[in-house]
Protein backbone atom coordinates (compact mmCIF):
# COMPACT_ATOMS: atom_id res chain seq x y z
CA UNK A 1 0.00 0.00 0.00
CA UNK A 2 1.24 3.50 -0.92
CA UNK A 3 0.29 6.31 1.42
CA UNK A 4 0.52 10.10 1.16
CA UNK A 5 0.40 11.86 4.55
CA UNK A 6 0.33 15.64 4.87
CA UNK A 7 1.67 17.20 8.04
CA UNK A 8 3.74 14.05 8.33
CA UNK A 9 6.79 15.20 10.26
CA UNK A 10 5.21 15.48 13.71
CA UNK A 11 2.31 14.43 15.92
CA UNK A 12 -0.40 12.17 14.56
CA UNK A 13 0.90 12.47 10.97
CA UNK A 14 4.26 11.05 11.93
CA UNK A 15 2.64 8.39 14.13
CA UNK A 16 0.46 7.29 11.20
CA UNK A 17 3.53 7.15 8.93
CA UNK A 18 5.37 4.99 11.46
CA UNK A 19 2.40 2.71 12.17
CA UNK A 20 1.45 2.17 8.52
CA UNK A 21 5.11 1.99 7.45
CA UNK A 22 5.83 -0.70 10.04
CA UNK A 23 2.92 -2.64 8.55
CA UNK A 24 4.67 -2.51 5.16
CA UNK A 25 3.18 0.61 3.57
CA UNK A 26 5.37 2.90 1.46
CA UNK A 27 5.06 6.48 2.66
CA UNK A 28 5.29 9.94 1.11
CA UNK A 29 5.47 12.53 3.88
CA UNK A 30 4.53 16.14 3.20
CA UNK A 31 5.44 19.03 5.48
CA UNK A 32 6.26 22.69 5.06
CA UNK A 33 9.38 22.94 7.27
CA UNK A 34 12.49 21.25 5.96
CA UNK A 35 14.46 20.32 9.09
CA UNK A 36 11.76 18.35 10.98
CA UNK A 37 10.62 16.79 7.70
CA UNK A 38 14.10 15.50 6.86
CA UNK A 39 14.51 14.25 10.41
CA UNK A 40 11.17 12.40 10.24
CA UNK A 41 12.17 10.80 6.94
CA UNK A 42 15.46 9.69 8.51
CA UNK A 43 13.74 8.19 11.56
CA UNK A 44 11.33 6.21 9.37
CA UNK A 45 14.11 4.97 7.09
CA UNK A 46 16.16 3.90 10.10
CA UNK A 47 13.27 1.54 10.89
CA UNK A 48 13.42 0.09 7.39
CA UNK A 49 10.37 2.03 6.18
CA UNK A 50 10.28 3.16 2.53
CA UNK A 51 9.70 6.87 3.18
CA UNK A 52 10.06 9.93 0.91
CA UNK A 53 9.97 13.49 2.20
CA UNK A 54 8.22 16.13 0.10
CA UNK A 55 8.58 19.76 1.06
CA UNK A 56 5.35 21.64 0.42
CA UNK A 57 2.57 23.64 2.00
CA UNK A 58 -0.96 22.46 1.24
CA UNK A 59 -2.18 26.00 1.95
CA UNK A 60 -0.45 27.15 -1.26
CA UNK A 61 -2.23 26.40 -4.51
CA UNK A 62 1.13 26.60 -6.28
CA UNK A 63 2.53 23.72 -4.20
CA UNK A 64 -0.18 21.17 -4.99
CA UNK A 65 1.20 19.84 -8.28
CA UNK A 66 4.69 19.67 -6.82
CA UNK A 67 3.34 17.51 -3.98
CA UNK A 68 1.25 15.33 -6.28
CA UNK A 69 4.02 14.99 -8.88
CA UNK A 70 6.78 14.10 -6.44
CA UNK A 71 4.52 11.69 -4.54
CA UNK A 72 3.53 9.87 -7.73
CA UNK A 73 7.14 9.79 -8.92
CA UNK A 74 8.21 8.26 -5.60
CA UNK A 75 5.38 5.76 -5.14
CA UNK A 76 3.86 5.10 -8.56
CA UNK A 77 0.23 5.17 -7.55
CA UNK A 78 -1.32 6.31 -4.29
CA UNK A 79 -3.73 4.00 -2.48
CA UNK A 80 -4.40 6.08 0.63
CA UNK A 81 -4.25 9.85 1.10
CA UNK A 82 -4.35 11.22 4.65
CA UNK A 83 -5.15 14.92 5.04
CA UNK A 84 -3.53 15.41 8.42
CA UNK A 85 -1.87 18.83 7.99
CA UNK A 86 -3.81 21.48 9.87
CA UNK A 87 -3.28 24.73 11.64
CA UNK A 88 -4.96 25.93 14.80
CA UNK A 89 -4.61 29.60 13.87
CA UNK A 90 -3.38 32.16 16.40
CA UNK A 91 -2.82 30.72 19.87
CA UNK A 92 -1.57 31.67 23.31
CA UNK A 93 -4.39 32.42 23.93
CA UNK A 94 -6.69 31.49 21.04
CA UNK A 95 -8.59 34.67 20.16
CA UNK A 96 -12.36 34.95 20.25
CA UNK A 97 -13.88 35.30 16.78
CA UNK A 98 -14.52 38.99 17.42
CA UNK A 99 -10.80 39.49 18.03
CA UNK A 100 -9.56 37.25 15.22
CA UNK A 101 -7.78 38.94 12.33
CA UNK A 102 -9.63 38.31 9.07
CA UNK A 103 -6.38 37.14 7.43
CA UNK A 104 -5.75 34.68 10.25
CA UNK A 105 -9.14 33.06 9.64
CA UNK A 106 -8.41 32.93 5.91
CA UNK A 107 -5.13 31.15 6.57
CA UNK A 108 -6.85 28.53 8.75
CA UNK A 109 -9.34 27.84 5.95
CA UNK A 110 -6.57 27.75 3.32
CA UNK A 111 -4.68 25.10 5.27
CA UNK A 112 -7.50 23.03 6.76
CA UNK A 113 -10.17 23.18 4.04
CA UNK A 114 -8.90 24.49 0.71
CA UNK A 115 -5.63 22.56 0.96
CA UNK A 116 -7.35 19.17 1.30
CA UNK A 117 -9.87 20.23 -1.35
CA UNK A 118 -7.16 21.09 -3.90
CA UNK A 119 -5.06 18.06 -3.14
CA UNK A 120 -8.09 15.76 -3.44
CA UNK A 121 -9.17 17.50 -6.66
CA UNK A 122 -5.73 16.95 -8.20
CA UNK A 123 -5.76 13.24 -7.26
CA UNK A 124 -9.42 12.37 -7.66
CA UNK A 125 -9.68 11.07 -11.22
CA UNK A 126 -6.64 8.85 -10.89
CA UNK A 127 -7.89 7.48 -7.54
CA UNK A 128 -11.27 6.72 -9.14
CA UNK A 129 -9.56 4.30 -11.54
CA UNK A 130 -8.03 2.29 -8.69
CA UNK A 131 -10.37 -0.06 -6.84
CA UNK A 132 -10.06 0.43 -3.08
CA UNK A 133 -8.47 3.90 -3.14
CA UNK A 134 -9.17 5.90 0.02
CA UNK A 135 -8.98 9.48 1.22
CA UNK A 136 -8.94 10.19 4.95
CA UNK A 137 -9.60 13.53 6.64
CA UNK A 138 -8.76 14.31 10.26
CA UNK A 139 -11.58 15.85 12.22
CA UNK A 140 -11.99 17.21 15.73
CA UNK A 141 -14.54 17.49 18.50
CA UNK A 142 -14.47 21.20 17.68
CA UNK A 143 -16.16 20.34 14.37
CA UNK A 144 -19.26 19.30 16.30
CA UNK A 145 -19.26 21.42 19.46
CA UNK A 146 -18.57 25.17 19.69
CA UNK A 147 -16.00 26.34 22.23
CA UNK A 148 -14.87 29.93 22.86
CA UNK A 149 -11.59 30.60 21.05
CA UNK A 150 -11.93 27.57 18.78
CA UNK A 151 -14.16 29.27 16.22
CA UNK A 152 -11.84 29.35 13.21
CA UNK A 153 -10.47 25.88 13.80
CA UNK A 154 -13.93 24.47 14.56
CA UNK A 155 -15.44 25.99 11.44
CA UNK A 156 -12.56 24.65 9.36
CA UNK A 157 -12.99 21.13 10.76
CA UNK A 158 -16.78 21.19 10.32
CA UNK A 159 -16.12 22.27 6.73
CA UNK A 160 -13.55 19.54 6.27
CA UNK A 161 -16.07 16.94 7.52
CA UNK A 162 -18.60 18.16 4.99
CA UNK A 163 -15.98 18.30 2.26
CA UNK A 164 -15.35 14.62 2.97
CA UNK A 165 -19.09 13.81 2.81
CA UNK A 166 -19.54 15.80 -0.39
CA UNK A 167 -16.64 14.06 -2.13
CA UNK A 168 -18.14 10.75 -0.97
CA UNK A 169 -21.55 11.66 -2.41
CA UNK A 170 -20.02 12.56 -5.77
CA UNK A 171 -17.45 9.76 -6.10
CA UNK A 172 -18.69 6.27 -5.28
CA UNK A 173 -15.48 4.75 -6.72
CA UNK A 174 -13.35 6.17 -3.90
CA UNK A 175 -13.80 5.72 -0.15
CA UNK A 176 -13.82 8.94 1.89
CA UNK A 177 -13.62 8.89 5.71
CA UNK A 178 -12.96 11.28 8.58
CA UNK A 179 -11.52 10.34 11.95
CA UNK A 180 -11.94 12.40 15.11
CA UNK A 181 -8.84 11.42 17.09
CA UNK A 182 -9.89 13.01 20.41
CA UNK A 183 -7.53 15.06 22.56
CA UNK A 184 -3.93 14.06 21.88
CA UNK A 185 -0.59 14.98 23.38
CA UNK A 186 0.73 17.00 20.43
CA UNK A 187 2.36 20.36 19.77
CA UNK A 188 -0.99 21.65 18.54
CA UNK A 189 -2.73 20.69 21.75
CA UNK A 190 0.03 22.29 23.83
CA UNK A 191 -0.41 25.51 21.85
CA UNK A 192 -4.17 25.48 22.36
CA UNK A 193 -4.36 24.37 25.99
CA UNK A 194 -0.89 24.63 27.55
CA UNK A 195 -2.12 23.93 31.10
CA UNK A 196 -3.58 20.50 30.37
CA UNK A 197 -2.18 17.57 32.34
CA UNK A 198 -0.48 15.66 29.52
CA UNK A 199 -1.11 12.31 31.20
CA UNK A 200 -4.82 12.77 30.51
CA UNK A 201 -4.20 13.07 26.77
CA UNK A 202 -4.14 10.33 24.17
CA UNK A 203 -0.79 9.40 22.70
CA UNK A 204 -0.57 9.87 18.90
CA UNK A 205 0.86 6.36 18.53
CA UNK A 206 -2.18 4.80 20.17
CA UNK A 207 -4.53 6.83 17.99
CA UNK A 208 -2.53 5.93 14.86
CA UNK A 209 -2.76 2.22 15.67
CA UNK A 210 -6.51 2.54 16.26
CA UNK A 211 -6.98 4.30 12.90
CA UNK A 212 -4.77 1.75 11.09
CA UNK A 213 -6.85 -1.14 12.44
CA UNK A 214 -10.09 0.69 11.63
CA UNK A 215 -8.89 1.12 8.04
CA UNK A 216 -8.56 -2.65 7.79
CA UNK A 217 -12.29 -3.05 8.48
CA UNK A 218 -15.15 -2.18 6.10
CA UNK A 219 -16.64 1.28 6.77
CA UNK A 220 -19.18 3.04 4.56
CA UNK A 221 -17.74 5.90 2.53
CA UNK A 222 -18.77 9.30 3.90
CA UNK A 223 -18.55 8.20 7.54
CA UNK A 224 -17.08 10.36 10.32
CA UNK A 225 -15.55 7.99 12.84
CA UNK A 226 -14.79 8.89 16.47
CA UNK A 227 -11.66 7.19 17.72
CA UNK A 228 -12.50 5.29 20.92
CA UNK A 229 -9.56 4.23 23.04
Amino acid sequence: MNVLITGGSKGLGYALAETLGTQGARIALVARTEAPLTEAEGRLRAQGIDATAILGDVAHKEDIHRIVGLAHAALGQLDLVIHNAATLGPSGPMPLLGDLECEAFEHVLQTNVLGPFRLTKALLGKLSLQPGARVVFLSSDAAVHAYPGWGAYGVSKASSDHLMRSFAAENPEVQFLAFDPGEMDTEMHAAALPDTDRVSLRRPNDVARWIASALARPIASGTRVEVTL
Binding site: H65, V68, G69, G76, G125, K126, S128, L129
Partner: protein, 338 residues
Protein backbone atom coordinates in the same frame (compact mmCIF):
# COMPACT_ATOMS: atom_id res chain seq x y z
CA UNK B 1 -1.46 35.60 -7.51
CA UNK B 2 -3.61 32.58 -8.22
CA UNK B 3 -3.29 31.40 -11.79
CA UNK B 4 -6.36 32.07 -13.85
CA UNK B 5 -7.77 29.21 -15.84
CA UNK B 6 -6.66 29.53 -19.44
CA UNK B 7 -8.53 26.49 -20.58
CA UNK B 8 -11.96 26.24 -22.10
CA UNK B 9 -14.61 24.57 -19.93
CA UNK B 10 -15.07 20.99 -21.20
CA UNK B 11 -18.78 21.46 -22.00
CA UNK B 12 -17.81 23.90 -24.76
CA UNK B 13 -15.82 21.25 -26.65
CA UNK B 14 -17.69 20.07 -29.72
CA UNK B 15 -17.66 16.41 -30.70
CA UNK B 16 -18.07 15.46 -34.32
CA UNK B 17 -19.05 11.89 -35.10
CA UNK B 18 -17.23 10.89 -38.27
CA UNK B 19 -19.42 7.82 -38.92
CA UNK B 20 -22.71 9.77 -38.97
CA UNK B 21 -20.96 12.90 -40.35
CA UNK B 22 -22.54 15.22 -37.78
CA UNK B 23 -21.95 16.89 -34.47
CA UNK B 24 -23.22 14.83 -31.52
CA UNK B 25 -22.98 15.14 -27.74
CA UNK B 26 -20.14 13.04 -26.38
CA UNK B 27 -22.37 11.04 -24.05
CA UNK B 28 -24.65 9.91 -26.88
CA UNK B 29 -21.69 8.50 -28.84
CA UNK B 30 -20.82 5.94 -26.19
CA UNK B 31 -22.92 3.09 -24.89
CA UNK B 32 -23.12 0.66 -22.01
CA UNK B 33 -20.21 -1.76 -22.03
CA UNK B 34 -17.85 0.49 -23.98
CA UNK B 35 -14.39 0.85 -22.49
CA UNK B 36 -12.66 4.21 -22.67
CA UNK B 37 -8.91 3.77 -22.43
CA UNK B 38 -7.21 6.88 -21.03
CA UNK B 39 -3.61 7.95 -20.53
CA UNK B 40 -3.21 8.69 -16.82
CA UNK B 41 0.20 10.35 -17.04
CA UNK B 42 0.48 13.72 -15.36
CA UNK B 43 1.99 16.74 -17.08
CA UNK B 44 5.43 18.00 -16.09
CA UNK B 45 6.28 21.69 -15.83
CA UNK B 46 8.59 20.90 -18.74
CA UNK B 47 9.60 24.39 -19.81
CA UNK B 48 12.45 25.64 -17.68
CA UNK B 49 14.07 29.05 -17.78
CA UNK B 50 17.87 28.86 -17.51
CA UNK B 51 20.89 31.05 -18.17
CA UNK B 52 24.52 30.56 -19.04
CA UNK B 53 27.27 31.88 -16.72
CA UNK B 54 27.80 34.83 -19.13
CA UNK B 55 24.15 35.81 -18.79
CA UNK B 56 22.55 34.48 -21.97
CA UNK B 57 19.01 33.20 -21.35
CA UNK B 58 17.55 30.05 -22.76
CA UNK B 59 14.55 27.79 -22.42
CA UNK B 60 15.09 24.13 -21.67
CA UNK B 61 12.28 21.77 -22.67
CA UNK B 62 12.29 18.36 -21.09
CA UNK B 63 12.20 15.53 -23.59
CA UNK B 64 11.23 13.00 -20.93
CA UNK B 65 10.69 12.77 -17.17
CA UNK B 66 13.88 13.52 -15.22
CA UNK B 67 15.60 10.63 -13.51
CA UNK B 68 17.65 11.14 -10.36
CA UNK B 69 19.91 14.12 -10.93
CA UNK B 70 19.68 13.87 -14.69
CA UNK B 71 17.40 15.41 -17.30
CA UNK B 72 17.33 15.22 -21.07
CA UNK B 73 16.32 18.48 -22.68
CA UNK B 74 16.15 20.37 -25.92
CA UNK B 75 17.51 23.89 -25.59
CA UNK B 76 15.84 26.89 -27.25
CA UNK B 77 17.27 30.40 -27.42
CA UNK B 78 15.89 33.62 -26.00
CA UNK B 79 12.19 34.40 -26.44
CA UNK B 80 9.04 33.00 -24.93
CA UNK B 81 5.76 31.40 -25.78
CA UNK B 82 4.53 34.46 -27.69
CA UNK B 83 6.98 33.49 -30.41
CA UNK B 84 6.11 30.34 -32.35
CA UNK B 85 8.61 27.61 -31.55
CA UNK B 86 9.67 27.43 -35.20
CA UNK B 87 10.63 31.12 -35.15
CA UNK B 88 12.66 31.04 -31.95
CA UNK B 89 16.37 31.88 -31.80
CA UNK B 90 18.69 28.90 -31.73
CA UNK B 91 20.16 27.90 -28.39
CA UNK B 92 23.64 29.20 -27.55
CA UNK B 93 26.57 27.04 -28.69
CA UNK B 94 27.87 25.15 -25.70
CA UNK B 95 30.38 22.41 -24.96
CA UNK B 96 30.21 19.35 -22.77
CA UNK B 97 31.22 20.23 -19.21
CA UNK B 98 29.83 23.76 -19.38
CA UNK B 99 27.27 24.85 -16.85
CA UNK B 100 23.85 26.47 -16.96
CA UNK B 101 21.92 27.86 -13.98
CA UNK B 102 18.36 26.85 -13.19
CA UNK B 103 17.25 29.26 -10.49
CA UNK B 104 20.30 29.27 -8.25
CA UNK B 105 21.15 25.66 -9.01
CA UNK B 106 24.00 24.72 -11.35
CA UNK B 107 23.47 21.99 -13.92
CA UNK B 108 26.33 20.60 -16.00
CA UNK B 109 26.03 19.66 -19.63
CA UNK B 110 26.93 16.02 -19.56
CA UNK B 111 26.27 15.09 -23.18
CA UNK B 112 25.36 16.86 -26.42
CA UNK B 113 23.58 14.80 -29.04
CA UNK B 114 25.74 14.21 -32.15
CA UNK B 115 22.87 14.69 -34.62
CA UNK B 116 20.72 17.24 -32.80
CA UNK B 117 23.10 19.74 -31.18
CA UNK B 118 20.32 21.32 -29.10
CA UNK B 119 19.62 18.03 -27.31
CA UNK B 120 21.55 17.89 -24.06
CA UNK B 121 21.75 15.75 -20.98
CA UNK B 122 22.11 17.82 -17.83
CA UNK B 123 23.26 16.75 -14.39
CA UNK B 124 22.07 18.97 -11.55
CA UNK B 125 23.37 19.21 -8.00
CA UNK B 126 19.82 18.66 -6.63
CA UNK B 127 17.37 15.88 -7.59
CA UNK B 128 16.13 16.99 -10.98
CA UNK B 129 12.38 16.49 -10.52
CA UNK B 130 12.19 18.83 -7.50
CA UNK B 131 14.25 21.38 -9.44
CA UNK B 132 11.84 21.11 -12.36
CA UNK B 133 8.80 21.66 -10.10
CA UNK B 134 10.49 24.67 -8.49
CA UNK B 135 11.49 26.42 -11.72
CA UNK B 136 9.50 24.93 -14.58
CA UNK B 137 6.10 25.68 -15.98
CA UNK B 138 4.08 23.88 -18.62
CA UNK B 139 5.20 24.16 -22.21
CA UNK B 140 3.28 27.13 -23.58
CA UNK B 141 1.53 27.56 -26.91
CA UNK B 142 1.67 30.67 -29.07
CA UNK B 143 -2.06 30.29 -29.88
CA UNK B 144 -3.07 30.43 -26.19
CA UNK B 145 -3.14 34.08 -25.10
CA UNK B 146 -2.43 33.82 -21.36
CA UNK B 147 0.29 31.78 -19.65
CA UNK B 148 -0.73 28.24 -18.78
CA UNK B 149 -0.29 26.84 -15.30
CA UNK B 150 -0.25 23.14 -14.41
CA UNK B 151 -3.84 23.55 -13.17
CA UNK B 152 -4.76 24.40 -16.79
CA UNK B 153 -3.05 21.49 -18.52
CA UNK B 154 -3.47 18.61 -16.11
CA UNK B 155 -6.15 16.14 -17.09
CA UNK B 156 -8.82 14.65 -14.83
CA UNK B 157 -6.96 11.31 -14.63
CA UNK B 158 -3.43 12.67 -14.08
CA UNK B 159 -1.10 10.48 -12.02
CA UNK B 160 2.63 9.92 -12.46
CA UNK B 161 4.21 12.96 -14.15
CA UNK B 162 5.63 11.40 -17.31
CA UNK B 163 4.30 13.66 -20.05
CA UNK B 164 6.02 16.83 -21.20
CA UNK B 165 2.87 17.97 -22.98
CA UNK B 166 -0.68 17.10 -22.00
CA UNK B 167 -2.44 14.12 -23.58
CA UNK B 168 -4.84 16.78 -24.75
CA UNK B 169 -7.66 14.60 -26.09
CA UNK B 170 -8.57 14.17 -22.39
CA UNK B 171 -9.46 17.86 -22.09
CA UNK B 172 -12.94 16.98 -23.29
CA UNK B 173 -13.52 15.22 -19.96
CA UNK B 174 -14.40 16.85 -16.69
CA UNK B 175 -15.60 14.96 -13.63
CA UNK B 176 -19.23 15.64 -14.49
CA UNK B 177 -18.85 13.99 -17.91
CA UNK B 178 -16.97 11.06 -16.43
CA UNK B 179 -19.72 10.60 -13.84
CA UNK B 180 -22.43 10.85 -16.48
CA UNK B 181 -20.72 8.26 -18.67
CA UNK B 182 -20.12 5.90 -15.74
CA UNK B 183 -23.81 6.16 -14.84
CA UNK B 184 -24.59 5.02 -18.41
CA UNK B 185 -22.42 1.94 -17.98
CA UNK B 186 -19.35 3.20 -19.84
CA UNK B 187 -16.15 2.05 -18.18
CA UNK B 188 -12.75 3.69 -17.88
CA UNK B 189 -9.34 2.08 -17.64
CA UNK B 190 -5.89 3.61 -17.73
CA UNK B 191 -2.46 3.02 -19.15
CA UNK B 192 0.47 5.37 -18.69
CA UNK B 193 2.26 6.83 -21.69
CA UNK B 194 4.83 9.62 -21.69
CA UNK B 195 3.51 12.11 -24.23
CA UNK B 196 6.51 13.89 -25.74
CA UNK B 197 7.21 17.33 -27.17
CA UNK B 198 5.21 18.45 -30.18
CA UNK B 199 7.81 20.97 -31.41
CA UNK B 200 11.44 21.74 -30.58
CA UNK B 201 12.35 24.54 -32.96
CA UNK B 202 14.94 22.26 -34.60
CA UNK B 203 13.66 21.27 -38.06
CA UNK B 204 15.66 18.05 -38.23
CA UNK B 205 14.59 17.00 -34.76
CA UNK B 206 10.96 17.95 -35.41
CA UNK B 207 11.01 15.68 -38.45
CA UNK B 208 12.12 12.81 -36.19
CA UNK B 209 9.21 13.25 -33.75
CA UNK B 210 7.72 11.45 -31.98
CA UNK B 211 10.81 10.19 -30.18
CA UNK B 212 10.71 6.98 -28.18
CA UNK B 213 8.18 7.36 -25.35
CA UNK B 214 7.80 5.20 -22.27
CA UNK B 215 4.64 3.08 -22.15
CA UNK B 216 3.33 1.12 -19.19
CA UNK B 217 0.37 -1.22 -19.49
CA UNK B 218 -0.90 -2.41 -16.09
CA UNK B 219 -2.55 -5.83 -15.70
CA UNK B 220 -5.82 -4.06 -14.82
CA UNK B 221 -5.98 -2.58 -18.32
CA UNK B 222 -5.42 -5.95 -20.00
CA UNK B 223 -8.23 -7.41 -17.87
CA UNK B 224 -10.54 -4.48 -18.63
CA UNK B 225 -9.98 -4.85 -22.40
CA UNK B 226 -10.67 -8.59 -22.33
CA UNK B 227 -13.77 -8.13 -20.17
CA UNK B 228 -15.16 -5.40 -22.41
CA UNK B 229 -14.50 -7.50 -25.53
CA UNK B 230 -16.11 -10.56 -23.99
CA UNK B 231 -19.20 -8.53 -23.16
CA UNK B 232 -19.48 -6.97 -26.60
CA UNK B 233 -18.23 -3.50 -25.69
CA UNK B 234 -16.04 -1.37 -27.90
CA UNK B 235 -12.50 -0.34 -26.96
CA UNK B 236 -12.22 3.40 -27.50
CA UNK B 237 -8.85 5.11 -27.15
CA UNK B 238 -8.76 8.69 -25.91
CA UNK B 239 -6.03 10.39 -27.90
CA UNK B 240 -3.18 9.27 -30.09
CA UNK B 241 -0.92 8.59 -27.09
CA UNK B 242 -3.27 5.78 -26.11
CA UNK B 243 -3.23 4.45 -29.67
CA UNK B 244 0.57 4.53 -29.73
CA UNK B 245 0.75 2.79 -26.36
CA UNK B 246 -1.70 0.00 -27.19
CA UNK B 247 -0.63 -0.65 -30.75
CA UNK B 248 3.05 -0.29 -29.84
CA UNK B 249 2.59 -2.95 -27.17
CA UNK B 250 0.99 -5.37 -29.61
CA UNK B 251 3.78 -4.67 -32.10
CA UNK B 252 6.44 -5.21 -29.43
CA UNK B 253 5.06 -8.31 -27.69
CA UNK B 254 2.72 -9.82 -30.26
CA UNK B 255 -0.29 -9.28 -28.01
CA UNK B 256 -1.69 -6.90 -25.44
CA UNK B 257 0.08 -7.68 -22.19
CA UNK B 258 1.18 -5.93 -19.03
CA UNK B 259 4.52 -4.25 -19.76
CA UNK B 260 6.74 -1.21 -19.27
CA UNK B 261 8.94 -0.36 -22.24
CA UNK B 262 10.41 2.32 -24.44
CA UNK B 263 7.89 2.63 -27.24
CA UNK B 264 9.29 3.44 -30.70
CA UNK B 265 6.21 2.34 -32.63
CA UNK B 266 4.91 4.74 -35.27
CA UNK B 267 1.21 4.83 -35.96
CA UNK B 268 0.23 4.85 -39.57
CA UNK B 269 -2.30 3.65 -42.10
CA UNK B 270 -0.28 0.57 -43.02
CA UNK B 271 -0.81 -1.11 -39.67
CA UNK B 272 -4.49 -1.41 -38.76
CA UNK B 273 -5.23 -1.18 -35.02
CA UNK B 274 -5.30 -4.53 -33.24
CA UNK B 275 -6.87 -3.36 -30.00
CA UNK B 276 -8.89 -0.23 -30.65
CA UNK B 277 -12.37 -0.07 -32.17
CA UNK B 278 -12.34 3.68 -32.22
CA UNK B 279 -10.85 6.88 -30.95
CA UNK B 280 -11.68 10.22 -29.48
CA UNK B 281 -9.08 12.48 -30.98
CA UNK B 282 -8.35 16.04 -31.97
CA UNK B 283 -9.22 17.41 -35.39
CA UNK B 284 -6.37 16.68 -37.79
CA UNK B 285 -5.39 17.90 -41.23
CA UNK B 286 -5.16 15.52 -44.20
CA UNK B 287 -1.54 14.57 -44.74
CA UNK B 288 -0.62 14.47 -41.06
CA UNK B 289 0.25 11.13 -39.53
CA UNK B 290 -2.71 11.38 -37.15
CA UNK B 291 -5.12 11.86 -40.04
CA UNK B 292 -3.62 8.95 -41.94
CA UNK B 293 -3.93 6.75 -38.88
CA UNK B 294 -7.67 7.33 -38.72
CA UNK B 295 -8.02 5.56 -42.09
CA UNK B 296 -7.53 2.39 -40.14
CA UNK B 297 -11.02 2.97 -38.73
CA UNK B 298 -12.95 4.63 -41.55
CA UNK B 299 -12.39 5.07 -45.30
CA UNK B 300 -10.47 8.14 -46.44
CA UNK B 301 -13.41 9.69 -48.29
CA UNK B 302 -15.44 9.64 -45.09
CA UNK B 303 -12.62 11.41 -43.24
CA UNK B 304 -12.35 14.05 -45.95
CA UNK B 305 -16.10 14.59 -45.78
CA UNK B 306 -15.87 14.94 -42.00
CA UNK B 307 -13.04 17.42 -42.38
CA UNK B 308 -15.10 19.49 -44.81
CA UNK B 309 -18.14 19.45 -42.50
CA UNK B 310 -16.10 20.34 -39.41
CA UNK B 311 -14.04 23.12 -41.04
CA UNK B 312 -15.09 25.51 -38.27
CA UNK B 313 -13.81 23.17 -35.54
CA UNK B 314 -10.76 24.17 -33.53
CA UNK B 315 -7.64 22.09 -33.89
CA UNK B 316 -4.57 22.34 -31.57
CA UNK B 317 -4.24 21.30 -27.94
CA UNK B 318 -7.41 23.04 -26.75
CA UNK B 319 -9.39 22.15 -29.82
CA UNK B 320 -12.52 20.13 -30.56
CA UNK B 321 -12.92 16.40 -30.81
CA UNK B 322 -13.64 13.80 -33.44
CA UNK B 323 -15.18 10.47 -32.60
CA UNK B 324 -13.93 7.88 -35.03
CA UNK B 325 -15.27 4.35 -34.72
CA UNK B 326 -14.45 1.38 -36.86
CA UNK B 327 -16.65 0.47 -39.76
CA UNK B 328 -14.25 -2.22 -40.95
CA UNK B 329 -14.33 -5.73 -39.46
CA UNK B 330 -12.04 -5.95 -36.49
CA UNK B 331 -8.72 -7.78 -36.52
CA UNK B 332 -8.58 -10.40 -33.78
CA UNK B 333 -7.05 -9.18 -30.51
CA UNK B 334 -4.61 -12.03 -30.03
CA UNK B 335 -2.99 -11.55 -33.43
CA UNK B 336 0.48 -12.99 -33.55
CA UNK B 337 3.44 -11.01 -34.65
CA UNK B 338 4.20 -11.18 -38.35
Amino acid sequence: MSPASSRRPPQTYRTFDVASAREQPLVSLLREGDLLVVNDSGVLPASIHARTPDGRTLELRLLEAPSGHQMRVVALGAGDYRTRTEDREAAPQVAVGEMVHIGGTPAFIETIDMRYRAVWTLRSSRPALGLVYDHGRPIQYAHVPSPLHLWDVDTVFAGEPWSVEAPSALFVFDHARVRHLRARGVRFAALTHAAGVSATGDAALDAALPLAERTRIPPSLVDAVHTARAEGGRIIGVGTTVARALEGTVHQYGKLQACDFNNTYRLGPSAPPQVLDGMLTGVHEPGTSHFELLQAFVPRDQLLKARALSQHYLSHEFGDTWFVSATKPRVPLQATRP
